[in-house]
Symmetry: C2
Subunit: 372 residues, 2 copies
């Protein structure tokens, strides 16, 4: 009987190490909906435990954690996205629409490591789920990374990085899916330059009052912005998120096509007026939400400056109604060589450099400070 | 003392499960150089073991193994390639120039699984190393997958899949690195259609007698073909490899540029004659190596058919000197929209369908047989 008891002990030790790994505390970059789920231990001698999963849909969402030791496991359930796994700032793995998958990185070497899972692709109609990072032993758990700077990006496809890895403008739906890489868009590049946390609240095809070619009337970006999921089922919970800078780029979809019969604006002038008023109100709501944030409004100089001119009018209106610490940026010189005339990787570089130069002017983002 | 012994047993069981995993026997698709290395157990109570690693350089090399149970680990040491990990025919992970990395897939579900590691990118100046698949327990080891059909592809960049994922013709060196995906080239598509094993013995820029623009004189594909590594340090060991079909596509690089001063051919006619004679000799050497293989010679119809016409002359010469079971295929209708006017993914599809139609004519590859 002593021998039998002994083998049970051995099995228990094995199970603890291999299956009941310790979950790492997270830094979450972006909106994700937590849900506590029961994890069945699968054995009579160890109790069931609880774990938190995170459902995500906005682009560019990332999860980070720190640990010691040479291994970490990443657990996802996502049939639609390309997900990147980074270790210590190096992109090591891509999970290509992996489904329900647990992947473990081993032989990482001793010492502290930071693991990061990042949503690279855009999914407008489906969600994915992150089920946590784990390490073999509780002693390997470290506090999650923290940031002293934070930037929020609000926009459309230009902010998502729509098709940005493409080397051509002609793309199928699958091409767009495969070539959109938010991690290589200008926003994350700016944030990484300043070692800043960031969120990408952007949705391709959406505008301030009018979406691309008039689709999905009313479901504009300022409306979607209120939610964590795009079906409006879960309100956004931005508690604990206080960006130093909010950068908004919206208007291309409002103006890129002629008005169709049946849309709510009788004339182009009426569309312009609605855009200016609504955009100013949206900026005022951002100021109310983030009283100390520096706000940047961006627009391209293409399409005879229709977006740029109306964006500047919206900024002037917001300023006249009390919104301070607000600047506008017009960008130029892009080659638009990615899918459907979107910014190419070369353009992402132009945009990130332009924005970095602007943010360098802010005391908290000044080069000497940011290098710390 | 009984209790103490008991805890040693527990630790030993844990170590065996977590660290001394069982290596899986392999099916290796392509040339790889095995090397037996000592694996230190890192503990006083378990002996050091041996493992075989595989150095690879030719494109499209893949390693496959079968196992039962819900987890498998993949061990690589490769700072240059994009490597794909497939489980049961589904591409689940991409290792992006991962360095020395062990990655484990877990929660795969019970039952038999097939794991596959595949080199997607082309590396001409560096090698990578595969260090094996492992499962936690010896009982989970299954025999490696086997194939009843086998195809060898010999060629240049068109066979490598050079830049094929690009949606444009303008590409930097990094673009080519990032967009070359041999797994999506026409050769692997043809082989997978027939559930055939395959090898890709191809090298971008090489020709029959002359490489692209005359570079690397003498180090042509028929010469490189003799080696497992491109520095000529290790002879190819093709023991056990008996392809049913050998498909050769070479000549684009011989003819795509004007002759430069100092090259060994005084005239274009001399180049043509050397190509025809050397290509016929190469085909004769393939016939000697693989007496029962069906041989296909392929060429595009571009560049005023200079490649196609000379390829046909080489085929006629080989046939006149006794090479039977040989056919030629001229392909047309490509858009050449990938990097530097290479076949696009759309073109890969045209090419694979064309070759599948031809191979359907072979008794062993006839649709009714191939479906088995």
């Amino acid at each position: 009987m002593k021998r039998a008891a002994c083998f049970v002990l051995a099995a228990s030790a094995l199970t603890t190490a291999a299956f009941a790994d310790a979950a790492l505390p997270l830094y979450i970059g972006g909106r994700a909906v937590p849900k506590i789920v029961k994890v069945e231990s699968g054995s009579w001698f160890s109790p069931d435990t609880e774990a938190t999963t995170y459902t995500y849909q906005w682009p560019g969402v990332y999860f980070e954690a720190a640990f010691t030791g040479d291994r970490v496991a990443v657990k996802v359930d996502d049939t639609e996205n390309n997900l990147y796994v980074w270790i210590d700032g190096v992109h090591r793995l891509t999970l290509t629409r992996p489904g329900k998958t647990t992947v473990a990185l081993k032989d990482l070497g001793a010492g502290r490591h930071v693991v990061r899972l990042e949503k690279a692709s855009e999914t407008q109609g489906t969600t994915g789920r992150f089920e946590g990072f784990t390490v073999p032993e509780k002693a390997d758990v470290l506090p999650a990374p923290t940031y002293t700077r934070a930037i929020e990006f609000i926009g459309d496809s230009y902010t998502v990085g729509y098709g940005n890895q493409s080397r051509g403008q002609t793309c199928t739906t699958d091409d767009v899916r495969d070539t959109t890489d938010t991690s290589r868009a200008w926003g994350p590049a700016v944030a990484k330059h300043f070692n800043a946390a960031y969120r990408i609240n952007a949705f391709s095809g959406r505008g301030i009052v009018r979406n691309y070619n008039g689709i999905a009337a009313g479901d504009t970006l300022p409306y979607l912005y209120k939610f964590a999921l795009f079906d409006h089922s879960v309100a956004a919970d931005d508690v604990g998120w206080t960006p130093d800078v909010v950068i908004v780029g919206l208007g291309t979809n409002d103006f890129s096509t002629p008005l169709n019969p049946g849309e709510k604006w009788a004339t182009r002038d009426a569309l312009h007026a609605d855009y200016v008023r609504t955009y100013a109100d949206f900026v005022k709501s951002l100021r109310a939400k983030y009283p100390n944030a520096h706000i940047v409004m961006m627009a391209p100089d293409n399409n005879a400056n229709e977006t740029a001119n109306n964006m500047k009018a919206a900024a002037a209106l917001a300023q006249s109604e009390g919104v301070a610490d607000l600047e506008t940026v017009i960008f130029t010189g892009l080659d638009w060589m990615a899918c459907h005339y979107h910014p190419s990787l070369k353009d992402e570089d132009i945009l990130s450099k332009l924005v970095i130069e602007r943010l360098n002017q802010l005391p908290k983002f000044a080069p000497a400070v940011a290098a710390q």
